[in-house]
Amino acid sequence: MKPMPDSTPTQSHEAIMIDVKGLVKKYNQTAVVKGIDFQVRRGEIFGLLGPNGAGKTTTMEMIEGLRRPDGGTAIVAGYDTRKAQDKVKEVIGVQLQSTSLFELLTVEEIVNMYASFYKKSVPVAPLLEDILLKEKIHARVKGLSGGQKQRLAIALALVNDPKIVFLDEPTTGLDPQERRMLWDIILKMKEKGKTIVLSTHYMDEANILCDRICLMDQGSVVALDTPENLIRNLQSESAVQFRIEHHEQVDDARRQRFTEQLNRLEGVKHVSVQGDRITLYTDHLQEALVRFVELAETEQITFQDLQTRTATLEDVFIARTGRSLGEE
């Protein structure tokens, strides 16, 4: 009989690759990351989702060892990122939010250069094949498109065959076709067993790619779960959105009363107000719609741009913070 392995497959699958505890970062006395905790499991795509300024990049850079935390710890692949920086750097790959590369070097030269910084590295040709840049191997960086440059930046994050890959807003500024191409590449990285930490302010991207999402706002974790659970916990399948016509002519007291009445409507779980835009969350769409129209009639409020849709991560964020992802 062969001896049993020390760790069962389930245990290794659930192993913690990153353990963040009470991480704090301050700039000029103001905390931009206010003591956050989370754990990233081996082999998952972990998303940091939040608007610009939520502290996603700062959080990632503290874990990578690029910024010194003002409090808390981050353990990466078993190493404390503050105490064993060099060990951490060998096992992670990083794509920064805005990296520019040496424009006058070729793709091959730049990959080889980055490979030389590590003890261990992967061959250039298969790496470029994986990120669909094989035909550009001898092209200079200068002549690459925005999407190709971004894919090269991701290739550089993979050059040391890292256990954990950090992608900071990898698809920002790309056209839809390039975004889809990058999503495929990221999903393939996951298939190959990489643990991926990805920040984004696109909810569709987080929804498609991430196994678990950490919703961040103003330096704090707002919610952390799988995309499905986040939406389920909203306990609303649908969202009803509309604008109040002549918003500015309706006085505050009247609007206040209207909102309170909306909240008490049967079937409505949650109401979110952003300026003249109001969103109702419900798991009984038809009933809620009928009651809403009745209420608007009695209160003599005219609405416009009425739309109903299935609830999304955006709605989760709005429900939790009162603001949308697009707002600063």
Partner: protein
Amino acid sequence: MKAYIQLTMAQLRIFMRNRQVIFFSLLFPVLLMVMLGSFVGDSGVSLSGLIVDQDESQASGQLIASLEQQGIAEVGQSADLEEALDLLEKGEHQFVLVIPDNYDETVMAWQKQGETGPVPDPASLTVYYDETNMVTSQLGLVAVRQVIDGISKNLTDYQPALVMEQKPVESLGLQYIDFLVPGIVAMMIMSNNLNGVAGQIAAWRERGILRRMQSTPLRASTFISAQITARLLLNGFQAVIVLLIGFLFFDTQVRGSWLLLLLFVILGTLTFIAMGFIIAGLARTPESAGPIAGMISFPMLFLGGVFFPISSMPSFLQAMVKTLPISHLSTALRQVMNVGADLVALWPQALVLFGWMIVSFLVASYTFKWE
């Protein structure tokens, strides 16, 4: 080690592929040589005079021949005094010598006079000269006086009681270009490295290139060493090219050893690279790196003996100037090239430069930041 080689190669490739930078960083010193070398370097070289021979005798012919032989001035002849003076006023000649028609007679009288006869009247030669151009006119007058003195001493059997023997000590035959080229090379070494390093590192920091490297296990010391190696190769090579251009096309003298010259080029390059790193560390943005580098390099350009000799400055400035690294670099280059000094003679310069280099590197390693 492989990171060091890769980074050095990368820097060399970037530089070699940036043709515009190569072109202009070589063009500028050559242009300076051509401009300054030809504007200032010509003084005192061409001296020409006109002789109006009113006597047209054998004796006057001999006088003209000895003037021509002396070779200081180019002499032409003119028949008409008016015309000759007109040319003098136009500045085409620096002097006009008039030989009177009684010249032959007077010379004969002096020759026949012997020891006892009555003393004849001397012949009077008139020299017209351009008073607005005293320096060259003086040279012309000296040349003419020498010849005439010689002839009249011959005629009178003059035995000099005192003889002055002329022994030139430094007959190096230096021209302004010889002073200029070492200065230009020193200037090049300073500006290429100081501004080049400061600007590039600050720009790389701004664009996040350094930050990206910081997220790898690459060490700052490896990065800096590779930078230094690449710059040393490139800027050292450029300095040698400019030296060769001066040597081959402008007849700049190189009396000392080329090896020693190279040593000082390397020492200077290292010193200014280190200073460039300091500026890159101080500058918060790439936009401010330029002015900071300029603030340091510009005064050095004028005070450091690049274009003007340090000895011609006021003494209170000299004391300050003598502490600048550029002064020691330009002095050392100049001494090697102009005088052929060896390391034994130049150890103070070498020592001061070395000191600047060490201190700069210490400060640079302390102030260097990835971000």
